[in-house]
């Protein structure tokens, strides 16, 4: 039996490098390779692998298992971290003399190992320890450029958010393990507290990590601050551990009542729509990508919601389609989001800025980066024939298919369909607007600054991971029906026993629609090939010239007159100003010979500004009111201790 933990061992070995990236990346590749192989084997054979070791920590045991659900997540974690590690080799070269790369690689390895342990752990203590390790190692990766004030602030917000989330998880695990007297997952019982309370704890705890909408504030801060290959890992796979946690809890907490499904659906719709709206209003490429992760987590949560509603209303097709869509989108989002972050990293590397309105015309200098970024942008907008369409397609099918079988006691049933279909359609349209803007403004047109004009293509170690990921986007898109059978055991693990057989049957019924989609995509690609040929034949031997862009008669255009990302998205951000509350600073031109005119637009996060900042300021104020307790004199503290003991004695004996 090859242990999944073999990955960890090799990862730990790879922690020694001081300067060379080689050992660090080799550690990740070796460990990741083993895990990749292992999780594929589990997914194909369907036989879970187990490992149980004793551990001296109270209630702890190194109890690990790789079942189908874990294998799906382990697969994407291993894949993305491996590619990100290769990319990191090239990306970190720029810092070679400036920073200690060994530290960076140590934490990268630690992050990879802890993420894998999180999805494999079957013991509460082991889970929480690796969860915490994951948060801490990524915190140190985020704050690598700690000479910048913004990075330190981002790291701080990240650290606080993660620990608040973990606090809820601790409460959750303690409640689950209270009756059993053990923190092993298979011993957990839900008797200690109403399962609704446990569910809320799980949603807040895991949702903070995943980036559900009210708890997402750390995401747009931490992801742009981290080095790009780390952002790719964090956004691509680390936030998915939150989704994994929720799915795992669904298997433990028992069949979900309907309101859990509605909760997921509401969270998903809100995160999806507001996430993409905030993404639209960003000027910085990496911040835009971070908000788009909130959007995609929203889509995943919508799938989860459809699945849960299917389970609670005894509709196996809805359950199977919703959950399969959710898991497929997890896989797909890992692929294209890490691709986009790596692309953003190459842009940052080449032009020195991720500010969209200072870029432009990059595709002439960076053909590989721009082509792969275009694939990622089309995929994340959910367009066929790429992979992003598939997950959304299954969620749509689940919702529309479930519409016909309205449960007697649910008059709000059409709302489910309106939320999913209307929400997904709106998200799709807005995401297309967002990513045409990101790609079109940064990569197409004329360079807006000298830095953008001098940009250069990334090195081979940075190019190949992007090519592989873009290839995967196409490959998954064209092998859609195959993925149903790969994900089927993982979905079956979440669905309760009485629905499982029917759900498996409806999963196999979904093969026909997906085959249809693939057929349609095939026809599309065939037609594209045909038209390329026709166009070449038509233009052969004819006069094909190069000239300037038609400027409607204007003779002296400059690159600065091009449409910018801010102007491109302005109509949408203006329409949704109620939710975005954009802040504009306008200094219009004045007088006959205007000299100075400026316009600055920004959309700071509403939740951060209106909810968290007041809340934390309030807490700081309350804490400052208690400052008189802290005299700094030992005698006073001894008095406190004595009083406490006295009070306890009176309470216990009295």
């Amino acid at each position: 039996m090859i242990l999944p933990a073999a990955g960890l061992v090799s990862l730990a070995v790879g922690r020694s490098p001081k300067v060379a990236c080689l050992t660090g990346a080799a550690g990740v590749l070796l460990g990741g390779g083993v895990v990749l192989f292992q999780s594929l084997r589990v997914l194909i054979s369907g036989v879970p692998e187990r490992l149980r070791l004793e551990w001296a920590v109270p209630f702890g045991s190194a109890n690990m298992e790789m079942d189908a659900l874990s294998a799906v997540f382990a697969l994407v974690i291993a894949l993305v971290t491996m590619l990100a590690a290769v990319y990191g080799c090239g990306y970190l070269q720029a810092d070679a003399g400036r920073k200690n790369l060994g530290v960076s690689w140590f934490f990268f390895n630690l992050l990879a190992a802890s993420m894998l342990t999180v999805v494999l752990a079957r013991n509460g203590v082991l889970f929480l320890v690796s969860w915490e390790l994951m948060s801490l190692s990524s915190f140190f990766l985020v704050t690598r450029d700690d000479d910048k004030e913004s990075v330190r602030r981002a790291g701080w917000i990240y650290l606080v958010a993660m620990h608040l989330g973990t606090a809820f998880l601790m409460a959750l695990f303690l409640l689950l393990g209270k009756n059993a007297g053990s923190l092993d997952f298979d011993q957990f019982s839900t008797a200690a507290a109403p399962s609704g309370v446990l569910f809320v704890l799980a949603v807040i705890g895991f949702g903070t990590k995943a980036g559900f909408m009210p708890m997402h504030v750390w995401l747009p801060e931490a992801h742009p601050a981290a080095p790009s290959h780390v952002s790719a890992v964090m956004s691509g796979v680390m936030i998915k551990t939150g989704i994994y946690g929720l799915l795992r809890m669904l298997t433990i907490l028992g069949p979900p009542p309907a309101w859990w499904g509605w909760t997921f659906l509401a969270i998903g719709t809100v995160s999806g729509i507001l996430g993409v709206l905030y993404a639209l209003s960003q000027h910085d490429l990496k911040r835009l990508l971070a908000y788009s992760s909130v959007e995609n987590i929203g889509i995943i949560a919508m799938g989860l919601g459809v699945g849960c509603l299917g389970i609670s209303h005894g509709n196996p097709a809805m359950a199977a389609l919703g959950l399969t869509g959710c898991l497929l989108h997890v896989v797909n989002h890992s692929v294209f989001k890490s691709l986009l972050f790596l692309g953003a990293g190459s842009v940052l590397h080449a032009a020195g800025t991720g500010e969209l309105d200072r870029l432009g015309g990059l595709s002439k200098h960076m053909p590989v980066t721009s082509a792969t970024f275009l694939v990622g942008a089309a995929a994340i907008s959910g367009l066929p024939p790429l992979n992003g369409f598939l997950g959304e397609f299954l969620i749509y099918l689940g919702a529309v298919g479930g519409l016909g079988s309205q449960p007697q006691d649910t008059p709000a049933w059409p709302l489910m369909c309106v939320l999913v279909v209307g929400g997904l359609a709106l998200i799709g349209g807005l995401a297309a607007a967002c990513f045409t803007s990101a790609f079109g403004i940064a990569f197409l047109g004329e360079p807006r600054t000298d830095e953008a004009a001098r940009a250069h293509e990334a090195g081979a170690t940075m190019r190949w991971p992007m090519i592989v990921l873009a290839g995967l986007c196409v490959l998954i898109g064209l092998t859609a029906p195959l993925w149903l059978s790969v994900l089927e055991p993982a979905v079956a693990a979440i669905i309760p026993n009485h629905l499982r057989e029917a759900a498996t049957a409806s999963t196999s019924q979904a093969v026909a629609p997906l085959t249809g989609v693939v057929l349609g995509s095939g026809i599309l690609l065939g037609l594209v090939g045909l038209l390329v040929y026709v166009r070449r034949k038509l233009l052969a031997g004819r006069c094909v010239e190069r000239s300037v862009t038609w400027g409607c008669g204007y003779a002296a255009p400059t690159p600065r007159m091009q449409y910018t990302a801010s102007s491109f998205t302005r109509p949408l951000t203006f329409l949704f100003r109620l939710f975005l509350r954009p802040r504009d600073e306008i200094h219009p031109p004045r007088g006959l010979f205007p000299t100075d005119a400026r316009l600055h637009t920004a959309a700071p996060d509403l939740f951060r500004r209106r909810v968290y900042e007041p809340a934390f300021l309030g807490m700081a104020w309350m804490a400052s009111r208690l400052r008189w307790l802290q005299q700094g004199r030992i005698q006073v503290y001894v008095l406190y201790i004595a009083l406490t003991i006295l009070a306890l004695l009176i309470w216990k004996l009295g």
Binding site: G360, G361, S363, A378, S381, G382, L383, P384, F389, F393, L397, V400, G401, L403, Q406, W413, P414, C417, V418, V421, G422, G423, A425, L426, G429, A432, T436, G440, L444, G445, A512, P513, T515, G516, V517, L519, G520, I523, L524, L527, V528, L531, V532, R535, L538, L539, V544, E545, R546, S547, V548, T549, W550, G551, C552, P557, Y563, F568, P571, L572
Partner: protein
């Protein structure tokens, strides 16, 4: 037999799509008291463009060249999916309406990118508005089609439209179907750049949406864009005609003839609309589109309330 009918529909659509703008223009000319351009003008234009060379801006890249190709391929693939009344699409499977809607999404994606590739601020402006309006039109179309799935208890366009019969119209589904038809009409006008959302004949680049995005294309590329747009007009028109002309005789030549006649009447209708209504101010267009979504949602609720 049904495959034969579907093939006949696809061929007729490929052949007749350029006739629709001719009819629209003739109706508009009649309203304005002009003689108007020839009925077959779009055919002449396409023929001329196909035989031209091309000029490319130095700013553009391969994305600009790929745009027209992908656009036409998307529209043609969508044509294979769409049914015309009782005639099912060639490519039919549960959820095919989603693939069709998203193919138009891909088409738009490349139109916008090709426009941004020129670096022209006029084309950027058009691209921005296209992205804006289409994002709001998408929910109306998909929610509207979702209510058809309930009515027919099927997830494929063919059976969905076969269920729209006179009896369905007269009994349970009538009001809901009319609401869906209105919503689809709004989407049809928006997506095909017609008045009251966009004016294909305006003389200022600043005021155009779709036409301004393709300013820099010429020759065979522009022919592909034009033909793609015509096919899109046909496909979205077929979605509307399928509801408004519920002829389901079971004998396919009759159904097909009724559908094609419906398409021609639809072109007349568009001409009438364009002659009678002025273009909306840009800030009013979102309200128009949100109204379409509301109509679709109402239709869905109505359909769900049926016993």
């Amino acid at each position: 037999m049904s495959i034969l009918a579907s093939i006949a529909h696809v061929l007729l659509a490929l052949l007749l799509a350029p006739l629709l703008p001719g009819i629209i223009n003739r109706v508009k000319a009649w309203f304005a008291g002009r003689h108007g351009q020839p009925l077959l003008q779009a055919y002449y234009d396409l023929w001329k463009l196909v035989h031209r060379g091309a000029v490319y801006s130095k700013t553009t890249t391969w994305v600009f060249v790929a745009g027209p190709i992908v656009e036409l391929a998307c529209a043609a693939t969508a044509l294979l999916i769409v049914p015309l009344g009782g005639i099912p699409g060639l490519l039919a499977f549960p959820g095919d309406f989603l693939l069709m809607a998203y193919l138009f999404g891909l088409m738009r994606f490349f139109t916008i990118l090709a426009a941004l590739d020129t670096g022209s601020s006029f084309e950027g402006m058009g691209a921005s508005r296209e992205a804006f309006f289409s994002a709001l039109a998408e929910p109306a179309l998909l929610v509207g089609l979702a209510s058809l799935t309930v009515l027919s208890d099927s997830l494929s366009l063919g059976p969905m439209y076969s269920a729209v019969t006179w009896t369905a119209m007269a009994s349970v589904g009538g009001p809901a179907l009319l609401l869906v038809a209105t919503a689809v009409l709004i989407v049809f006008l928006t997506e095909n750049a017609r008045i009251p959302v966009d004016d294909p004949n305006t003389h200022l680049e600043l005021t155009m949406i779709h036409e301004v995005m393709v300013l820099d294309h010429g020759g065979p590329d522009f022919a592909m864009i034009q033909y793609g747009a015509l096919l899109k007009l046909w496909v979205l028109g077929a979605l509307l005609v399928g509801i408004l002309v519920p002829v389901r005789s079971g004998f396919w030549p009759i159904d097909l003839a009724a559908g094609v006649a419906g398409m021609l009447v639809l072109a007349v209708l568009v001409g009438v609309i364009e002659s009678l209504i002025a273009r909306l101010r840009l800030v009013r267009v979102p309200q128009f589109l949100v109204a379409a979504s509301v109509l679709s949602i109402l239709a869905l609720i109505l359909v769900m309330r049926q016993p």
